[in-house]
Amino acid sequence: MQILVCVKPVPDPEKYDLLMIDPETRRLIREGIPTVINPADKNALEAALRIKDTTEASITVLSMAPDFCADRIRECLAMGADEAYLLSDIRFGGADTYATSRTLMKGIETIGLAPDLILAGNESADGATAHVPVQLAEWLGLPHIANVSSIERDTRAGQAPGAASWIIHKKAEQGHIRYRARPPILLSVERNSNRPRIVSALGVVKSKKKKLEILRFDALDVSSDTVGYAGSPTKAGALSIPDLSRTGQRVAGTPAEIAAAFMDIIKKSI
């Protein structure tokens, strides 16, 4: 079985409180915020690794990101993925979800992959649109299920191994919807839906010998008006950091006094 996992390096979401906007250029200052693999993408990779733990499977990791993210991609190999491709080119920059998903599709075509399962984190921590996985499936003409919280093998008797189907749980408004799904299919995996494994020292050693190939613009069957900012139907305007400050008034005293004051405020305000 071939599994493709799409990952995105993002600024560490634990540190978003540190983000600032340069007053002159109006650009985002990310200084001091390290790059990490998007949390939900690690859950997607873990889901793939768990399948590989019990079945014959190969895992390819695919990412569109600048060269400096190669180390983060290697981390995925250290976790247990078999090979990785990084789509990196200055012309891919400024892409929205539409152009990103289309470039990923072109990458899959170029590599010549026909995965049975494509897994991706449900949303990235930075943009958090949850669009890219679903849109990638659409470009590939594959069915998709988003907000997936569990992937299990369908254990009904009499299933041919190759045609094996999956039981998928999708998080929905009132609980979970269960589906039976046949490959090939793309699943967007929920953050925190499993506990991603820790990279072992042996994993790191092994990862150095695994393939991590960088594919540039010229390697892909794309034109410059279909990638990056030029290929994006959405155009970004001004950025701002909303001012959320309120004139905090401290209420002091014993717990009973504070409680009485707060109860009063609530009563008056609702």
Binding site: D126, A128, V134, N147, H176, R180, T234, R246, A261
Partner: protein, 334 residues
Amino acid sequence: MTNNPRKIKKALILADVAAGEIQQSFWELLTKVKQICPEAICGAVYIGGEYPEARETLRQSGVDVLYAAEDALLDIFRPDYHCLMLETAIRDFDPDLLLICATAEGEELAPTMGVRFRTGVAAHCVDLKIDEEGEPVCLVPAFGGKVVGEIYIPATRPRIATIKAGIFSASNQTREQKTCPTVIPIDTEVLKSRHGSIEPIGIVESAPGGRSVDKADLVVCGGYGLKDKDAFASLEKLAEYFAGAVGYTRPAVESGRPENERNLIGTSGKTVTPKVYVGFGVSGATHHVCGMKNAGTVISVNNDPNAAIFGMSDFYAVGDASKILDAMTAITEP
């Protein structure tokens, strides 16, 4: 300026209807459309099981056009089926603007339409306006809500936007309607001949877990700093006294204290606008604040005098969250 190519001539809303119940978000989106493009022809699409009452309410909601894909096959969300039905309505109506509520389903439908119609999608808009040049602009959060950016979709149609429930306010005026459109049925027969590779086999409902924070005037929120085992029961008591609801932060959910994560507040949960929000042991992290920043009055308790939440509060106390909570529930007892 009748030929202004930017002008929204037709707007379409995907009606958020859960098991026959029209959700508040539908009225919120409808109100927004009437505000920003009052002259536009406004359409709605219903996709789901057969609920004649819901269909009738939508027909009388103030929309000019109503599409309905009604079939037992659509009762449970199926990405392939629901996407096809929505696509059919869009092809027929040809809107300039498409608004979809950012539910788990809407978040899957919107990007799908983006690719099928080769157009842009703005996710989780916190506002939708028309700029000085008459161009619609979506304000979307990024980095957990720390940053807000403008998104334009200048060249392609429809412009698609998703909006979480509770972001816009609904006005009752939209419901006063003189002429009701006839329903345009969407052919569901095509679904019967499609043997898709996804088949729904059931719904697992989550534990009910108290009143929903969506409509509550008071939200009392438990953060990670509310460590007492019984504290969540005390929160319930306090909320109940004011007919309010209990919300929580992500770390509180992960600690397993609340029963389920239905009332998680923040980027990955709900956006609430109660008259009063009270946070107990909440630090004030971006991802959480994004979901409660528009509350009327914000009260917070934290034992760290430098907690970020204090700067975003109207009233605060430095102290132990459990102790102050218990003193508050004591007052509610006769």
